[in-house]
């Protein structure tokens, strides 16, 4: 908890600000490098440079190269950046809002609600009227995941709000209860599922970007991008909130508005992210912590840096996922945890002497 305390000596704070700003530059470079890797590396060995050279020379691009670059790798790259940024920023915002370092999107019921939506679609999708089923087509699972996530957050917000005031503590506890209810409902559906549906569910819950297609990316992008655009306006408020709600109010922060915007942004972006990639754990909790260890808890830098590092981490994990066992693929959630876990532990142990945790 103490790590969120923004009170620091002025000189120390200035030093940290400078460090956070140069970190932003470094992370932007890292993200650019990862984006390049994501576009260049893949099981098929299709090279974007050869394709560009072909195009420049006016040669028509061969169909498979076009599909690999334009319909597979590019939407996958964009999906990875959007999902990574959405999860990491949401984690940072929620940790600030709840003043709890363990908060992540799982805690406000978004993940559980989205998971329940996806399971409903996978197991019960066959019961929909055929016309509706055909109209939704491949969008069925993502749409259901988004709807489930949104519904969970709206319910939670309504539960925790009395007379215009939202209790963060109630929200945290009710979120755990809602998560348990969603898990129970999912359990009922899992018991009804057949063998093939169970396989689909398992893979969905481990996450993957291999199903990232243009329609999915284009429908998720507005939601995630508007939530990310909101984030810079939350930084000052979240800093003040770390002193406690009354203190934040005295500092002139519209605390209720801050809560509403945070919850809205988190639910929109996490709902959309889960809809594209399935369940990818770990990014939301580890990325903000890593950045706090390196450059301090100031949310004005933390949110931007979280977006960059989250996106870069997810792209890196996706490149490993698609190359490690090529031509098959590893689940993305497994790779984020295997790569990120030990690295986080290493940073944690190395810096324990320097930062009071």
């Amino acid at each position: 908890m103490t790590m969120l305390r923004p009170v620091a000596l002025a000189a120390d704070a200035a030093d940290r600000s400078a460090r956070a700003r140069s970190l932003t530059g470094a992370l932007a470079l890292l993200l650019a490098g990862m984006a390049l890797a994501s576009l260049t590396l893949g099981a098929s060995g299709v090279s974007p440079w050869a394709a560009l050279a072909d195009l420049a020379a006016g040669r028509p691009l061969d169909l498979q190269a076009r599909v690999v670059l334009w319909d597979i790798r590019l939407p996958r790259l964009l999906a990875g950046m959007l999902v990574g940024a959405a999860l990491a920023v949401s984690g940072a915002v929620l940790q600030g809002l709840f003043r709890n370092p363990l908060a992540d999107p799982g805690l406000v019921g978004v993940s559980a609600g989205a998971g329940l939506g996806a399971i409903c679609a996978i197991v019960l999708g066959g019961l929909l009227p055929p016309a509706l089923h055909a109209a939704l087509g491949l969008a069925l699972v993502p749409v259901a995941a988004f709807a489930g996530g949104g519904l969970a957050v709206v319910t939670l917000y309504a539960l925790a709000t009395r007379a215009g005031r939202t209790s963060v503590a109630t929200m945290l506890l009710a979120g755990i209860a809602l998560g348990a209810i969603a898990a129970a409902l999912s359990g009922i559906l899992i018991a009804m599922a057949d063998d093939a549906q169970l396989r689909d569910l398992t893979f969905w819950s481990l996450g993957s970007l291999s199903g990232a297609t243009w329609p999915k990316v284009l429908s998720a992008a507005p939601l995630i991008l508007s939530a990310l655009a909101l984030a810079p306006f939350l930084g000052r408020g979240l800093n003040a909130l770390s002193l406690g709600e009354p203190a934040a109010r005295h500092l002139g922060i519209g605390v209720e508005t801050l809560k509403r915007l945070s919850v809205l942004g988190v639910s929109a972006s996490v709902g959309a992210a889960v809809a594209i990639s399935g369940g990818v754990g770990f990014v939301g909790i580890v990325v903000p912590h890593l950045l706090r260890l390196i450059a301090g808890p100031d949310h004005r830098h933390l949110l931007v840096n979280s977006a960059l590092l989250g996106a870069a981490l997810l792209l890196a994990a996706d490149v490993v996922a698609r190359l490690a066992v090529a031509p098959a693929e590893l689940p993305l959630g497994v790779v984020t945890a295997v790569l990120g876990g030990p690295f986080f532990l290493w940073v944690l142990l190395r810096r324990r002497g320097l930062t009071e945790l």
């Binding site: 098929s44 599909v67 690999v68 893979f203 291999s210 297609t213």
Partner: protein, 282 residues
């Protein structure tokens, strides 16, 4: 745009299913254990460049590059082996991957599932015509059909034995096969009766339902999960209370052979029938 592309993919699929695909298919990816077995049985294995994880027979197939689990294929992974024909069992996916493969103008031929002799013959004919060897397919389908008929004719007893297929015993929970499953199909071909035909699909069943099903024999896959020893099976309270438990009758068979419904279906039927007879009451 997407609708147009899907329409295009559909037309491609139609073309691929017809004899037009015969010219292609020098680099074939086979998705699904039974489909791969059929390609080998047709003697066309030289054209295979990759297979999925479930294609484990014949053993040589395991030497081919593995593009992953049949329902969770990566589009670029499949394209990376530069296929010009994809033979996919029904349910291969995810659908996004199949749509992208079709968008890349790779003919995808879907081989429908089915759990009886007619379905096996249909699978063989579809694979053979996609590979441009319909005559050999016809011959193989006829032979396999006859073999299954022969194996089925000699199988069974009166009254038929009640068989409970246990897919898994994870944590003491019985996951068993109801009607409409491959296990149900093979049990019936072997002249026995599925003890749980009242439920549909593979389901976790309660201990009481297991006892009420009163199976004479428990059937399991030989490669099902980390070694569930015979003693562990029979010490399960519900299974212990059934006729199968009292007589300690358990048959284990290779999973792909038992429920694959490929060209070895007749072998599966006669192996299962023989096991039931040996284990059975005289």
């Amino acid at each position: 745009m997407t609708a147009l592309r899907q329409a295009g993919a559909f037309v491609l699929l139609l073309c691929a299913a017809g004899p037009a695909a015969a010219a292609d298919g020098h680099r074939v990816v086979s998705l699904g254990g039974a489909v791969t077995e059929i390609v080998y049985a047709l003697g066309e294995e030289g054209r295979l460049v990759a297979r999925d994880t479930t294609s484990s027979f014949p053993p040589e197939a395991q030497g081919l590059p593995d593009v992953g689990y049949v329902r969770q294929l990566s589009p670029e992974g499949v394209l990376s082996v530069a296929p010009d024909l994809i033979l996919a069992e029904e349910g291969a996916g995810p659908p996004e991957t199949m749509a992208l493969l079709r968008a890349a103008a790779v003919p995808v031929v879907e081989v429908p599932a089915g759990f009886d002799a007619a379905a096996v013959e249909a699978k063989i004919r579809i694979v053979a015509s996609a590979l441009g060897v319909p005559e050999r397919g016809e011959a193989l389908a006829g032979r396999v059909g006859d073999e299954i008929a022969g194996a089925t004719a000699g199988a069974g007893s009166t009254p038929p034995q009640r068989v409970l297929f246990v897919l898994s015993l994870q944590g003491g929970r019985v996951m068993a096969a109801g009607s409409g499953t491959a296990a149900d199909g093979i049990i019936r071909l072997a002249g026995a009766e599925n003890a749980l035909s009242g439920i549909a699909g593979y389901k976790p069943v309660t201990d009481e339902a297991v006892i009420a099903a009163a199976p004479d024999v428990i059937l399991m896959m030989a490669n099902a999960g980390p070694g569930v020893a015979d003693d562990a099976v029979f010490s399960h309270p519900a299974i212990h209370a059934t006729p199968a438990g009292a007589a300690r009758r358990l048959v284990r068979m290779d999973g792909l052979l038992l429920v694959g419904f490929g060209p070895r279906t007749a072998e599966a039927v006669s192996t299962l029938a023989a096991a039931l007879a040996v284990e059975g009451k005289p």
